[in-house]
Symmetry: D2
């Protein structure tokens, strides 16, 4: 399988390369960048020296379509809206790591993203690539909208509760904490070391564009679900997301029962690991890997459930899940090329 | 005013010294440690060299009572239970930075702290030193139970909502994030650098001993309040607490109205700063200072209020508030000796 | 004494404010910024809210000269070259935190800074403000070239050895490590959190503009001194510089003798603290304070001396030393307004 | 090839597992711990959950010898001194990650390590496993003394200069900076988060036990080499070592010539990458990988050479090089099972 990576100079793009380098059935045919065409990728990222000798090429849809079967788009907002339809028409499958094709309704996208939505006809062709829950659709897809980092952690954490109607539909509060790499490589005061180190910041309160992405999937699972509260915090670390999820149980439950439910729900999911009762994952325990680790608590005093879901935002929250989706599309083992254990400590 | 510091080798103790060194009306008469008696304090903490020449003395209640008017206890759990009654009987006022005297009912203390409560008679004499809301009682107190770091950030953030009955009483969820210094100087795997850096951990889920401390004060303000959900996370930084507080409004509100309410509530509070609508504080913005900064959001989609409250856990969450209480007890300006601006960046 | 701060939106400027806020003999008359005129300073730095209500004003030399006695320039390279002569001619004293007036010979400045030097006539009027060693000149100065952060740590560490001719003149190697705030608030990939955290980088190898500044002072003390090797490393922390200094002893020495020499050399220096033999300072032990802490080792195997000198780069390496120089110019106690103990931990 | 890991609960042990999990020719037969026998390894390290199901077994030399061909010792100082001779006599090869067998002369070991040396007869059988320079001996070895983390970075950085007699023999100064994981998992105040974060510390000045290890190898390459100065600093990060190496050139050189020399010296070394002139590696660029990246500068002003050598202390500085040596012993490709690209950012 020949693939091309568009937007290879971002963190998502370079993380794709880390995994695809040793993928047994995939060949990275070309890497592309609109801003650094003609530069060696290893000049942009010296850690790739020797391992990776590609030159960054311009983004020429027709040319790429002749040499690659699938393209990964790891591009800034709005770029995929324009490129994906063109690749589609050339018969090239797209795995889009950006948010452009995740929201099914154009007007919702425009409200939260403050930019023009892709054409509705292509939005409808896109499959939301939450691998564990959409395997069948992913398998047949021509366009994959790869989930956002926060939605991945959140949805994997909420799925069993929402699908089984165990929680009050208007009670969901998600407090998410993210490492700074989620903001990408573009420099800004918000990600300036001296302003970020020894600091916790909340941002985009009630306005994060991942809110409609999460709600859309929750509603697909359970149409009774009401709007959620979802907060995002920037934490002084590079990688990792923890979503701490709170919801009110409809009836009295127990932690044991919940842990069992989660284990059953994710029985066949190679990358979702459920912790035993009383144990909760930390972000470092999935660092550099495609795992999503989940712990569940039930508080008898309040009747409230707490779910703790962690991922590496650049792996399961981006490049890793994209490759997992590629594997599903190719009909091979889901963890091919992704069998990396977490880097600890 | 002559004071003694018991437990001067912990982070709370040494932070008391940083502020009291230049307090115009206070003289640090002696510093005490059970474990390092006879050592110079500057040998334990080289950053004090030259500025501080005290030797650590043993904890002799009678002796201390002869030379000091007030003692600060910055001691591990259980120590104050034993020492405070003795100081009281010697006529020495106590400002206790530990949790021993915060919970009014002994059996509640014993349930959450898993240790024997202090005698009920002394518990009743203790005043909960949340300076902004208990000035009158603090002024007359003989024993101050200085609030915990998490309860300080949380209660200052919740007070206007709870006192004014604006939120559904069973809807309070607090997601708190703390720097590692809150765990003190005692070494453990949990605070080992390599396991803490580049990592976010949740701990004591539904079991944190600050839960009853928060609920006790909320109930004093509003007896309708129901049990809360309160979660604590360890963040890879040294200082700072952010409490992100979620609650359901009883009726439709607006951010403007809430910001106004908070400004009014804290009009006379020198150390509480309310952010304008749409602005939220980060922990670094209070670093090293006694400020508590608060931002408030209202989400029309969900009817939920989000309050963001930040403090430096070692200052407003410990030593700073203790000195603020001392000032109130002495009848002097509340910010005497505490006029330090945040260290930024 | 009325002062104005030019370049108040940088880290040096805001740190000046932290200290001057409570300086008993200084009034900050106005704060100035070329880029953010008309904005409240607390809008740029929310941590100043309530404590500081100044509006940023434009840089109008004539206007400032009417209202202030002394100006602090905390401006980017090249700005002071232009402003300082104008203030001088208006009879206003200047304390310049930038590097523009530190190098006595214009052609040397131009070679290392790659920009036009200030007029030679004003260069000659400037006094190099290494407080501990240039008190007399500072006292009389009209223009102070406040030393760079690296040179401050390095020169205070080397002075006793070089002044007393104890080391081989061609043997000096300085390996310096700095926190990221030294690079200022201007965003760049080099100071982007994700590229800086969990990382050590060397930069400007053999090309750092602080090299001629250090050599100039060493030669003033001892004209036999040969060119030095000076390397700078970016460390994943915000504040702090450690200069590890290596030099070959001319004859056999001992650590005791060296520690004694340093203690004598800095006997009257309130801000230089010499560690006992076998003890070495860490950067956190001076965090937020104006101290320079120094430890000294002598290795009998190699005859080499190792000096470890630490400062807070924004305090003793910038704003703190600037205020120390101001105090000297005013003829008051050198530590006025600077009596802040290190913030630890 | 069946292998056993002794000391599997340390960072070196768990890192061996990360790589060996997918090594095509190696089977991890058993994992051993003196302190946590009977516990599942995934209970000690939750990040291993699902991927690794081994139980920790006691250290029974006879039993292990029956089931394994090679043992890795990732044990605290002194343990290997006792175990290695016993494994040897049982015909089991040993790759020792501790320092016990690195120093050829027992009395030197005892002087620097302050503990009893292993029997001289076994010391002589041990081969120093600096893979790039000792391939032939490693290939035949029965006991491998795997190099220390600092010596690996330092020796790879110095080899071309020392082997070719380019530098003055008494001019070597090495300033090394290390992440905290090098201190292992054992808790201490020195590695306590709050004392280590936002801090740089120098330690064991002129007394580090890696000094004789480095000198021994330098002398093997060039018997004129004189005692070195070698300083170690603890940096607030988890992984990574940078050795900044200074030495005086014997005659005038150029950076080009030096870069060429290094490229030639390491032509066949898969894991050593030489940077182009004017480029220097940072530690993050080798994070999680077995690479050693090297940059070289020559300063015409001083005639001094600066070499910057970086590794991941737990990989090339421990587990990775140990596996590289295993591969050499097995006669297979040196990078088998080690083809991991750096995790960046």
């Amino acid at each position: 399988m020949k693939i091309a990576i568009i937007g290879a100079t971002g963190y998502g793009g370079v993380e794709l390369l880390r995994f695809l380098q040793y993928h047994p059935f995939v060949h990275v045919q070309s890497v592309h960048s609109s801003s650094q065409e003609g530069t060696a990728l290893s000049a942009v990222y010296p850690h790739l020296q020797q391992a990776e000798s590609s030159m960054l090429e311009k983004i020429d849809v027709e040319q790429i379509s002749k040499t690659s079967d699938i393209v990964f788009l790891a591009t800034p907002p709005g770029v995929s809206s324009e490129l994906t339809p063109r690749f589609y028409e050339c018969g090239v499958k797209v795995i889009d790591l950006s948010g452009d094709f995740r929201i099914k309704e154009g007007h919702v996208y425009e409200q939260w993203y403050k930019r023009t939505a892709p054409p509705q006809t292509y939005l409808e062709k896109a499959v939301y690539g939450l691998s564990e829950w959409n395997r069948a659709e992913v398998n047949d897809a021509k366009i994959i909208a790869n989930p956002g980092c926060y939605p991945t952690a959140t949805l994997l954490g909420l799925a069993p509760l929402v699908q089984n109607g165990l929680i009050k539909e208007d009670s969901i509060v998600i407090d998410a904490k993210s490492g700074v790499s989620g903001a990408g490589r573009h420099v800004s005061l918000n990600t300036h070391f001296s302003e970020t180190n020894e600091n916790v910041k909340i941002y985009k309160v009630n306005e994060h564009q991942h809110i409609p992405e999460i709600e859309q999937m929750l509603l697909k699972w359970n149409e009774q679900i009401k709007p959620i509260t979802f907060s995002t915090h920037l934490i002084p670390m590079t990688r990792g997301i923890m979503a701490t999820i709170y919801a009110q149980a409809k009836k009295e439950l127990s932690a044991e029962m919940l842990v069992d439910l989660y284990k059953t729900s994710y029985e066949s999911a190679k990358f979702v690991r459920i912790r035993e009762r009383g144990n909760y994952p930390s972000t470092k325990e999935v660092y550099g890997s495609n795992y999503c680790d989940i712990g569940i608590a039930y508080d008898e005093r309040t009747g409230r459930i707490t779910v703790v879901s962690v991922i590496d935002n650049l792996v399961k929250g981006a490049a890793g899940q994209a490759i997992q989706n590629l594997n599903i599309m190719m009909g091979i083992e889901e963890d091919t090329g992704l069998q990396f254990m977490p880097v600890y400590p």
